[in-house]
Amino acid sequence: MKVFETLGKYFLFIGLVFSKPQQWKRFWKQFFFEINSLGINSLPIIMIISLFMGAALTIQTAYNITSPFIPLYAVGLATRDSILLEFSPTIISLILAGKVGSSIASELGMMRVTEQIDALEIMGVNSGSFLVLPKILAAIFINPFLIVISMFLGMAGGLIFGLLAGVVSTHEFVYGLQYAFVPFYVSYALIKTVVFAFLITSISAFFGYYAEGGALEVGVSSTKAVVYSSIILLLANYLLTQMMLS
């Protein structure tokens, strides 16, 4: 019963959040602030992870190709498809669920327990929409850019570290990247990214917004936000893959 109660509360929260901003000027200001806070600030970690994951993917694929009948360009092809289909949209989104999700939940949780959200409500501000809507829309807007950057860096990392390890040549790797390319994979990745961005921000905001108690409870809310958004993200990944690729 508790699951249905929480689910109902979550949908009511979404209804509260998706209402017309009371002041557009302030909404845009907050939207661009969140693009920087949730998106641009996440760029360094995404760049590092993408480069090294691309590198590891390439080297592992190359070392596992032992048959002389499999051409070496298959390394580039496997790296590309792994990055496009799963690594960039799903794994990077999971990392963002940890980084961005905990930040949103703890920020809103602290605002709740220090009565800042109550202060907004008493002023007549729709606090849900005021605080959460710019975060959700900013993540939906900026995350696809982050994922596209991650895709490029993952493939670049594969090429650079593949060359350094001597497991593949530039020509073979680049040929593999271009071989049998399915443009829909990029659309599929970006659609997943948008759905994940919504889930990460809305679930984390939900747990932060309804935090109760003190610093300890804010920590618990933050942990819950990351755990639940990660699980639901993986579930959504399965459903979207089933719907779009089957």
Binding site: Q23, T114, A119, I122, M123, G124, N126
Partner: protein
């Protein structure tokens, strides 16, 4: 004037407010006193609709509030100013931005008019020098004063203060008390103050309501509270050594 009519509020089956009826008068500082757990904060949160009452009604100058729609509540709340126990200032904004916030959100004032109004409000609470500081850079007393400046920025009709003196030294407490009383009289607003500070009671208690076990136990003013024969009120008033000594001294006279 705020009329509270037979309100009750329970949490998990535990009755916190039990059939409370009160009137908070305009132009007066109305104090709600009582020990910890007596229901003061719940009453205040019901007054501003942060909690929904289980039974009864709250009327603001005859306008029904507790049973109105969310949109109507939001409209009426624009007439509210509230000073929270911890100040509830926005951490990410400077003192100036905190005070300007309600004006930027809900007034049609120009930038220069907002600037003038913020300066006036900060001047009113003697905080003009701290306008560029963040809440983390100012003291507890200053935070309370910023909260008061923010609360009065939109010329509220109703001012709510939840334990405005908690955590403050006696001298700063008196400054805050006097400020609340001056603002109440100057703007002829209805002010409700939650407190368990007896100094505040004697300083600004133009109307005092004593809550005990979620019920209204006693009602009077700062003069009558020292003379009441209500045992629970006496226990509360004369709990401190200082007031016991004052009582003994006055009895000797």
């Amino acid at each position: 004037m705020i009329e509270v009519q037979h309100i009750s509020k329970s949490f998990s089956g535990r009755k916190i407010l039990d059939d409370v009826s009160l009137v908070f008068e305009t132009g007066k500082t109305n104090l709600v006193i009582g020990g910890s757990g007596s229901g003061k904060t719940v009453l205040m949160k019901c007054l501003v609709a942060l909690y929904t009452v289980d039974e009864g009604d709250i009327l603001y100058d005859g306008r029904q509030f507790s049973k109105s729609t969310e949109e109507d509540k939001r409209l009426l709340r624009k007439d509210f100013g509230m000073v929270f126990q911890g100040g509830a200032l926005f951490d990410s904004q400077t003192v100036w931005e905190n005070v300007a916030f309600p004006l930027q959100m809900f007034s049609s004032l120009s930038e220069s008019e907002i600037k003038d109004r913020v300066e006036f409000c900060l001047n009113r609470v003697n905080l003009n020098a701290a306008y560029q500081l963040y809440p983390s850079q100012i003291s507890g007393g200053m935070k309370k004063r910023v909260a008061i400046a923010r609360a009065i920025a939109l010329n509220p009709k109703y001012l709510f203060c939840d334990e405005p003196n908690s955590g403050l030294d006696p001298k700063t407490s008196i400054v805050i008390d006097n400020l609340i009383q001056e603002i109440t009289e100057e703007y002829n607003i209805t002010t409700v103050v939650n407190t368990h500070d007896m100094n505040s009671v004697l300083e600004i208690g133009q109307k005092i309501i004593y809550l005990n076990k979620g019920q209204k136990w006693w009602e009077g003013d700062k003069n009558s509270i020292l003379e009441t024969d209500n045992a629970e009120v006496n226990d509360f008033v004369y709990a401190s050594e200082l007031f016991q000594r004052i009582r003994k001294a006055s009895q000797k006279l």
